[in-house]
């Protein structure tokens, strides 16, 4: 279980906080998405939970223990993949294990196993520049899974990918999360992605305000049915959009009202 209590963050030189009193609890095995406009502080929350950013105030608890530093219990998938170009797919996936001191033979076996899981067993010796964006993010996903984390953190993981690849990878993530019973915190800009993957959606506004929490009551696996045709999907999408529309302050006369 992940608990974020009274998280408060002011960046150096900033006049107002990026996140002010953010609170969230994610149950074990639950998939929660943070959605909100650019600059609302959702990435700040995720980076703090990862341990890449010290909070000004507040605490992050993982299974009741304070967790403000990176740890093998937390795996992260970055938006820009952040793979090392000087390592092969296999070397990248083995990286987290290497840092934990896992013996070479074992970490390579485990890395190969996770590359198989994401369908890249024939690309193990390839370097990132030899792989497509989607393949690279599968390597990124395997790297995070390979350390067998309790908590998976995903920072707009499909934001840099084309629409078709995105849907394919969303299906893959849903399948893997269902199999491994992972606890996941996802940051996204995509309403569809949040609905498709989440058990719960947190709609955020400026300075990390939680505008609303929405439970997603759609049966899984969601890609087996035409989930976009369900009433629940239509209702959720309309609700998230109406909340975001208010936050974004788009001029309806210019952009038109979103569906």
């Amino acid at each position: 279980m992940l608990e974020i209590n009274h998280l408060f963050k002011v960046y150096e030189g900033a006049t107002s906080p990026a996140v002010s009193d953010f609170n969230l609890t994610v149950e074990t095995g639950e998939f929660v998405s943070l959605i909100g406009p650019t600059g609302c502080g959702k990435t700040t929350v995720l980076r703090t939970v990862t341990g890449l950013l010290p909070p000004t105030r507040g605490e992050v608890l993982l299974d009741g223990k304070l967790s403000l530093k990176p740890s093998p219990e937390k795996g992260i998938v970055f938006q820009m993949f952040n793979l090392f170009p000087w390592r092969t797919a296999l070397g990248n996936v083995a990286y987290g294990l290497e840092m934990q001191g896992v013996a070479k033979k074992e970490r390579l076996e485990r890395a190969a196993e996770y590359l198989r899981l994401v369908g890249l067993s024939d690309r193990m010796k390839h370097y990132p520049h030899q792989l497509s964006g989607g393949q690279n993010q599968r390597v990124g996903l395997a790297r995070a899974l390979a350390i067998k984390p309790k908590l998976m953190l995903m920072d707009e993981p499909f934001g840099a990918l084309d629409a078709l690849t995105r849907e394919y990878l969303q299906g893959m993530v849903q399948r893997i999360c269902a199999q491994t019973r992972l606890t996941v915190l996802l940051v996204t800009h995509s309403v569809d992605e949040a609905i498709f993957l989440s058990d719960r959606i947190i709609v955020m506004g400026n300075q990390g305000r939680v505008i609303r929490e929405l439970a997603v009551d759609l049966p899984r696996p969601r890609d087996d049915v035409d989930w976009r045709a369900t009433d629940e999907y239509t209702r959720l999408r309309a609700e998230v959009w109406s909340l975001l529309k208010h936050e974004l302050r788009y001029d309806p006369a210019v952009v038109g009202a979103p569906a």
Partner: protein
């Protein structure tokens, strides 16, 4: 009307190139072009230098001079130069890379060292030779010190810039996957700045060579630069060219070796060669794996 037919088994008529065409094909090759250009220069020099043994001299005279002085004087002097240059570059690399890494990694080291590095890099280091002479003497210690003074700064600065330029994405990934400070340096900072480090080494190796020879010409009583000064004072122009050509050839060889080394260390991920190992060939090249 006749239709030409080919019987199976009979080879089709091959086009034979004329002598001129064949020569043109060969002339287009880079090596042939280089040799031809060299030949032209030598012939022109031979013609222009006729009757001017004390200024322009001639390739044939240099060749004869080489027979007299190469083994007796030039190579021993070159040995002295090489020793100082090798040690000087070795020290420059061995100190320069860690200092650059330290400056890039530690704010304290950056603030403390950067003014000196920048000032010394900008100062014409030839001006330091009279100062160095006072305590290093006129032989090996002088050559060595000046070689280091010339060679170390480009290595420090390039490494330092390389470290600063390592994308935040890479260090983030290292930190997020639990790398400690040393692990970050070994697995992220060094491979991530390797092309800068190599650029520094390439510039540094040339500068160390320049430094050694300049010290010898300016002040030293040993080495190939000193020998050239001596030949010059005696107006032995052809003799002077022997060490000069040797130096030129040696410098070309050095830069070829370093380029090859750089390719070997950074190629797989820059050009997409596949290797059998998981890790970075770069860190292995540096003996860090």
């Amino acid at each position: 009307m006749s239709v030409s037919t080919e019987t199976p088994g009979t080879p089709a008529a091959t086009v034979t190139l004329g002598a001129w065409d064949r020569m043109r094909v060969h002339l287009g090759r880079p090596m042939v072009l280089r040799l031809t250009s060299l030949l032209v220069v030598i012939v022109l020099w031979q013609l222009i230098g006729a009757g001017k043994p004390y200024s322009v001299t001639q390739p044939s005279a240099i060749f004869t001079a080489a027979g007299h002085v190469l083994f007796s004087q030039v190579l021993p002097a070159f040995g002295s130069t090489l020793k100082a240059f090798g040690a000087g570059f070795g020290i420059s690399a061995a100190l320069g890379v860690p200092i650059g890494l330290l400056m890039g990694q530690s704010r304290l080291a950056e603030l403390a060292l950067r003014p000196y590095v920048s000032a010394l890099y900008a100062t014409p280091r030839v001006a330091l030779i009279p100062v160095v002479m006072l305590w290093a003497g006129l032989a090996f210690k002088l050559q060595l010190t000046v070689a280091v003074l010339f060679g170390i700064f480009p290595i420090i600065l390039n490494t330092y810039i390389g470290v600063k330029e390592v994308p935040r994405n890479f260090t983030d990934a290292g930190i997020a996957f639990n790398a400690g400070r040393w692990q970050i340096i070994r697995t992220v900072i060094i491979p991530g700045s390797l092309h800068y480090i190599f650029a520094g080494l390439r510039i540094g190796i040339g500068y160390a060579m320049i430094g050694t020879v300049v010290a010898e010409i300016e002040a030293s009583v040993v080495g190939i630069g000193n020998l050239m000064s001596l030949f010059g004072q005696e107006l032995k122009v052809s003799d002077m060219w022997v060490p000069l050509i040797l130096l030129g050839l040696f410098s070309v060889l050095l830069s070829v070796i370093l380029k090859w080394l750089e390719r070997w260390a950074t190629m797989p991920w820059l050009r997409g060669k596949l290797t059998d190992d998981e890790g970075s060939p770069a860190t292995m090249a540096l003996g860090a794996q």
